[in-house]
């Protein structure tokens, strides 16, 4: 009995606390999250890295802490999906403490969000981040002054150098423990407005109405005519009338509305507080280091050439001799040491031919064929990560906005599209930063046409067989074709379903930062881990299934010639569709179907189907099965057709519509089929 009682006591002591990190994009939330939880989320210098909330665990002096990393927001308005996620989280599942991450080098705009969160009525502690950079400028800050002005605890920290974190956590814990005492909300408004807000607060408190956050927050939102809040609170007619009288009692000059009044008063309050709290060392130099870099990188004449140069360098390093060198090394390792090692072991333990075939022809051949392009993934993602971490990516959006607008997109679509060359999944997710719904829809629709890195394996294999002399040129033409189809599709959408997609383009241009090795490593490791996971599960599974289907016939007898296998019989039914494209053989068909599970499986499937143990055998088999024209047409189809399951499900989630998802899939299949017929036709004339 006593023991159980003790256990309960201990459990009570170790009550799990929930912290939520909220702050502006680029304020260092994710870095702080990683420091607190020891996890390795990847951090970018591109506003909107955390597009979904992430949860991690931390332990501190016997406390178990659940840390929630919420997407970066500028306001709780809520107009963007990020703002809605954050607001809903605060309402439906309020954390014990909000850690409001504030970038001290950009303090005014960051504190604007602080005023809103503190009005929400949830206990809050402000983490004054990047204090090291702030101090380096020679400025000083009176933390007490800020604490007094905003009625919250303010802890200066540097998340990247892990300074001040202990202080932050212990403060947050002590605030969380005092959870029962109601939070006193500071007044940020002039007395006239404050008076009206107080009256509105009283009106909503009259009845036992649901509140949205604290009564102050609700009152402010009602004052601003925030529709979502009004619907949520659901006031009765009498209350609405009373409130309307109050609202109209303030004199409003022309072209000012109540939203502006609220924002303006908040900013005024912040300005005043900052003027008191911050001592500047001397007048700031007119040009910062970032400005100097920007002078070159966004120069009127130099910007575009530099931009294209960077894109060229990325492609050249990834697909040129540098990437190929590593690729060949891995192929060699899989073909010789690994295959020999396993066949030796299998022979020694006296495995049956059946098992031997499964392991060597099925798994190793399938997975090995795809593993060889791991180096190219690493190179591509390292380079993209450097672009992102440094802050150049947002400049790319700045430079390309005008071009992309012509096809109904915005500069912000540039990032998803460039990332699409790496992997469609994160690329489609990053399209969330686009506020305009139509521009976002078009972006998601066309991003899969940016040839993802998994398709590289297919191209490199086929190109090395048929187009050995001008490999880079052929691969480049495929990428170009993908871009052209994307532009074409965007134009169609812009002029039909998603008309008037004139997106706004309001984007922060963060200061340049030196990419850190850690950031680079985390970013790349995330992708490699994902690839290895797929290789171990989807690819290995696919290889085994395909090996089985092509090794046995319907009587479950092992077949000598895969022509008689189950797979051949089924695939032969679909194959005729692809006759006009030039690859109406059943093997190609199976490979394409397998490619829907994961694009890497196209190569592994081909390897298994042609029973090719090494590159030489595989090359020979392919050169027999395809002609130059049909090989090019096959690559075209792979380029354009439906992306892998993971990408499709992400697209579905972002569209939040089965209709659009189905439309996208049908469109991709159709356009792939049409374009490959065209390519086959032209190819036959040229080659």
């Amino acid at each position: 009995m006593i023991q159980t009682k003790n256990k309960i006591l201990i459990k009570k002591k170790l009550k799990t606390l929930r912290f939520a990190l909220i702050g502006n994009p680029n304020s260092g939330k994710t870095t702080l999250f990683n420091q607190l939880t020891g996890s390795t989320q990847y951090v970018g210098n591109w506003p909107g890295v955390t597009v979904e909330k992430k949860e991690g665990k931390a332990k501190y002096l016997g406390h178990v802490i659940k840390v929630l990393d919420l997407p970066g927001i500028y306001s709780l308005s809520p107009y963007s999906p990020e703002e809605i996620i954050t607001r809903n989280c605060l309402v439906n599942n309020p954390p014990d403490v909000v850690i409001n991450v504030v970038d001290s080098t950009n303090i005014e705009r960051n504190l604007y969000l602080t005023t809103q969160i503190s009005e929400f009525g949830i206990p809050i502690v402000v983490a004054l981040n990047m204090i090291d950079i702030f101090k380096k400028r020679g400025d000083t800050i009176l933390v007490n002054e800020l604490e007094q002005k905003f009625g919250v605890c303010v802890i200066p920290i540097s998340a990247s150098r892990s300074e001040g974190l202990e202080n932050l956590i212990s403060t947050a814990i002590s605030i969380a423990k005092k959870n029962n005492s109601p939070v006193r909300v500071k007044n940020f408004y002039a007395s006239e407005i404050n008076c009206i807000l107080e009256k509105i607060e009283r009106i909503i408190s009259e009845t036992q109405q649901k509140k949205f956050g604290s009564s102050r927050f609700s009152a402010v939102k009602i004052f601003e005519d925030d529709q979502l809040t009004l619907e949520f609170i659901n006031l009765d007619k009498k209350q609405i009338d009373k409130i309307n009288i109050l609202k109209n009692s303030i004199k409003i000059s022309k072209n000012v509305d109540r939203q502006i009044i609220v924002a303006d008063q908040r900013y005024k309050y912040i300005c005043e507080a900052c003027n008191k709290a911050i001592r500047k060392k001397h007048k700031r130099k007119k040009e910062t280091f970032s400005d100097k870099i920007d002078k070159i990188l966004t120069h009127r004449f130099l910007a575009l050439p530099i931009f294209f140069f960077f894109v060229f360098i990325i492609f050249n390093l990834t697909f040129g001799s540098f990437g190929n060198f590593f690729k060949e090394k891995i192929s060699w390792i899989v073909e010789y040491p690994i295959t020999l090692f396993f066949s030796d072991i299998l022979s020694k333990i006296g495995a049956s031919t059946w098992t031997k075939s499964l392991v060597l022809d099925g798994i190793i051949k399938g997975v090995g064929a795809t593993a060889s392009f791991l180096p190219q993934i690493i190179i591509l993602f390292s380079l993209l990560s450097i672009l992102e971490d440094s802050g150049y990516m947002s400049r790319c959006a700045f430079i390309t906005d005008k071009l992309l607008r012509k096809i109904g997109l915005s500069g912000k679509s540039f990032v998803p599209m460039l990332m699409g060359f790496g992997c469609t999944v994160p690329a489609v997710m990053s399209a969330r930063t686009i506020e305009n719904k139509k521009a976002k829809l078009i972006t998601i629709f066309v991003t899969p046409f940016m040839s993802c890195s998994a398709k590289m394996a297919i191209y490199s294999l086929i190109v090395s067989v048929f187009f050995n002399e001008n490999q880079p040129l052929i691969i480049f033409s495929l990428y170009l074709m993908g871009i052209l189809v994307a532009v074409f599709s965007a134009l169609i959408l812009k002029n039909t379903i998603a008309k008037d997609s004139d997106a706004s383009f309001i984007m922060e241009l963060p200061p340049y930062r030196m990419p850190t090795f850690k950031g680079l490593f985390v970013h790349v490791w995330e992708r490699v881990k994902d690839f290895l996971k797929r290789a171990g599960t989807v690819l290995a599974g696919c290889s085994v299934v395909i090996w089985f289907l092509e090794s046995f016939d319907f009587q479950m007898q092992m077949v000598q010639d895969s022509q008689n296998s189950i797979l051949a019989t089924i695939a032969a039914l679909i194959a005729p569709i692809f006759i006009p494209c030039g690859f109406g053989n059943w093997q190609a068909c199976v490979a394409l179907v397998a490619g829907i599970a994961a694009k890497e499986s196209v190569v592994s499937t081909v390897a298994v189907l042609y029973n090719a143990g090494n590159t030489a055998e595989l090359s020979e088999a392919i050169s027999m099965a395809f002609s130059k024209a049909s090989a090019f047409s096959f690559m075209t189809f792979v380029l354009l057709y439906t992306p892998c399951i993971a990408a499709v499900s992400t697209i579905k989630r972002e569209f939040a519509s089965y209709k659009w998802t189905t439309l996208a899939i049908c469109y991709q299949l159709f356009i792939a089929w049409v374009v490959s017929i065209f390519v086959f036709f032209v190819g036959n004339l040229i080659f």
Binding site: T105, N106, E108, K254, Q259, K268, K283, E435
Partner: protein, 84 residues
Amino acid sequence: MRTINKLKPGESGTVLEIGSSGALRRRIIDMGITPGATVTMKKMAPLGDPIEICVRGYNLSIRKTEAKEIAVEKIANFCGEKAI
């Protein structure tokens, strides 16, 4: 009336009023472009649009169409960014 897009690179202005509507207007306000705030024109993108402005100590990129909605009064001989 002068709007932000009429400022030359290096010139600053005080925001007078904000046109536009709905979410876009809200976004502009939330980003700190409120009446009374100082805005400095930094540069135009290589293709002439969007523009880069400095407001409340940070850099923001907005399109000319949005800039046209924000009326400003030019500040004479203002040098340097607005202090944080």
